[in-house]
């Protein structure tokens, strides 16, 4: 076992899981509020990346300006979308809302293509954070990943304290489950909902600002992240923030491990056989048969390729065996 490799991969996975949670936390809050999934949520993540790229690189105002400014800008856009779009569509029911968010996702994607083109933008990690923070064994852990972890964790602590320790936070919690009762007590629930939508989109944008430098900023960024976030909130349990956290971590860490590993499915099978003390020659015949059935290609693939299936496989299994998700409450 290469402990350096395992430790660093775990830390990288943590960084990824946390930014997944930045996005899925907002989506979960918005789901609790609207009762439908917001398909445009990942588009705000992508917008975050583009706005940060403009501010930091095209205008040369640096990443450090973009970091606080972009969530504010995109959060404001989110509030406008809620106030002048969703709030009206809401009257026509859930299906209309769902279609509205679908349309919005396509609209934003085409808009970004129109303005920035198809190609990947060179949105990069700021220079001071480009190095290695420390090495475990011979494995380097990048400063930027540590920065991502730090930013995400600070945001969550702030959000957690806001929701559980302040009166505003308690009003928000109550409004998510009992909007009518909260209105009857004199609290402006439509305003609260607009703010929640704004905060949710701002979190997605913040994730875009910090995560897209490690990935690729392009019109497809939203479409690549969207399905993963969808999987996360289904696996965690729709409407459960804790569930979204757990599922973000599981999926962030495991997909990072798959990505990092150099193994093929074949070599994993070999290793497992070794561990169990099975004579490899005994498996030769079944392996041969599998190949003949054309599953052989699968066996020769790398775990990285096969790992891409993992989140979806997990979602299907969860839906079969625990439809309410890991920490979700069963619908009554």
């Amino acid at each position: 076992m290469d402990w350096g490799f395992i430790t660093v991969t775990l830390l990288d996975g943590l960084a990824r899981g946390l930014y997944y949670f930045l996005v899925s936390a907002g989506l979960t809050l918005i789901f609790s509020m609207m009762g439908v999934l917001n398909f445009a949520h990942a588009s705000f993540f992508m917008l975050g990346g583009y706005f940060a790229y403009i501010i930091a690189q095209e205008w040369g105002l640096t990443f450090w300006i973009a970091l606080p400014a972009v969530p504010l800008i995109v959060g404001a856009i989110g509030m406008v979308v809620e106030r002048f779009g969703l709030r009206h569509v809401h009257k026509f029911g859930h299906v209309a809302e769902l279609i509205f968010t679908f349309g919005l996702a396509f609209l934003l994607q085409e808009f970004v293509k129109l303005v920035f083109g198809q190609d990947t933008k060179p949105y990069a990690v700021p220079e001071v954070l480009q190095g290695t923070l420390f090495t475990v064994g011979d494995q380097p852990f990048g400063s930027y990943r540590a920065f991502m972890i730090l930013v995400s964790i600070s945001i969550f602590i702030g959000l957690y304290l806001l929701l559980t320790r302040t009166r505003v936070g308690m009003i928000i919690q109550a409004a998510l489950t009992h909007p009518n009762t909260v209105s009857n007590l004199g609290h402006n629930v439509p305003l609260i909902f607009m703010a929640v939508f704004g905060v949710g989109t701002a979190l997605a944008a913040l994730a875009g600002v910090i995560a897209l430098p490690t990935d690729a900023l392009q019109p497809g960024s939203a479409a690549r992240l969207g399905p993963i976030i969808f999987v996360i909130i289904v696996v965690g349990g729709l409407g459960s923030l804790n569930g979204a956290l757990v599922a973000s971590m599981i999926i962030g860490i495991l997909t990072t491990m798959f990505d990092a590993s150099q193994l093929s499915v074949f070599s994993v099978m070999e290793a497992v056989a070794n561990m169990l003390g099975i004579e490899w020659s005994l498996l030769e015949r079944p392996t041969y048969e599998l190949r003949r059935l054309m599953i052989g290609d699968l066996i020769m693939m790398s775990t990285k390729q096969v790992g891409a299936l993992f989140p979806y496989l997990l979602m299907v299994l969860i839906l079969i065996f625990r439809p309410q998700g890991l920490l979700g409450k069963r619908e009554s």
Binding site: R167, M170, I171, Q173, A174, T177, H178, N180, T181, V182, S183, N184, L185, G186, H187, N188, V189, P190
Partner: protein, 233 residues
């Protein structure tokens, strides 16, 4: 001038016409009972006054038209509402629930937590407990107290004694009397005549989405015809 004046109030659920021209008035400090059989539209009357079900017609509060305002604006203007479903906020403690009854920007109130803790020592003991863990009766007390924390001038209370033990019903009656002592008007929706008859200054009887009778409790008690036609089952 009446505190609350409801004039030709109509309300619909989709196509069904539930309130068909309700008229009533409530004066400062009055205790009014709204009686009627199941399903005649008593809760809908409260909900339309509150703006939760869109009202057609006129509702004035202190002379100001409130029909068409959002529920939180109506609450802000001084109308309190304790719905029949007793929904306390789960995940929040008793104390936190009470705190959410205080309106944003509210000044000095006629009520404090301490008032309710004195009336219901149970709530004091359980102030740090998740409100969802309370008994039905305690939840009823809590939702009434929560609404009163917002210092309304009139409070609509929908079937507060439904499903409660006789002791708990007595507690509810105690609170109603305390509200009346503080000169806060009450619109009490009830099925049981006993409490309503004892504390009301006036009663309305509802049938088929309209007010079919208005009078004092004594007048209603001596009017067998109305009671048989509209109240007794």
């Amino acid at each position: 001038m009446a505190l609350l004046n409801v004039n030709d109030l109509n309300a619909y659920y989709g196509k069904s016409h539930i309130l068909q021209g309700v008229n009533m008035t409530i004066d400062e400090g009055e205790i009014i009972s709204l009686l009627g059989r199941n399903g005649v539209g008593r809760s809908t009357t409260c909900k339309s006054i509150m703006g939760e079900v869109p009202p057609k017609g006129s509702i004035t509060f202190r002379g100001k038209e409130i029909a068409g305002l959002a529920p939180h604006q109506i609450a802000q203007s001084g109308i309190g509402y304790v719905p029949e479903n007793r929904d306390v906020f789960p995940g929040l403690t008793v104390k936190q629930n009470l705190n959410l009854g205080v309106k944003p920007g509210q000044g000095a109130s006629r009520w404090s937590e301490e008032d309710f803790f004195e009336l219901f020592p149970n709530l004091r003991e359980r102030q740090d407990v998740d409100a969802a863990a309370l008994s039905g009766g305690e939840q009823q007390m809590l939702t009434m107290a929560r609404t009163l924390m917002g210092d309304p001038d009139v409070v609509m209370i929908d079937e507060p004694t439904e499903g409660l033990s006789p002791q708990m019903c007595q507690r509810v009656a105690d609170l109603l009397e305390e509200i009346a002592r503080r000169k806060i008007a009450i619109l009490l929706v009830e099925q049981k005549l006993t409490i309503a008859m004892k504390i009301s200054t006036r009663v309305y009887v509802m049938g088929h989405g309209q007010i079919v009778y208005e009078g004092t409790p004594d007048e209603l008690m001596s009017n067998d015809e109305i009671r048989q036609e509209w109240l007794e089952v």
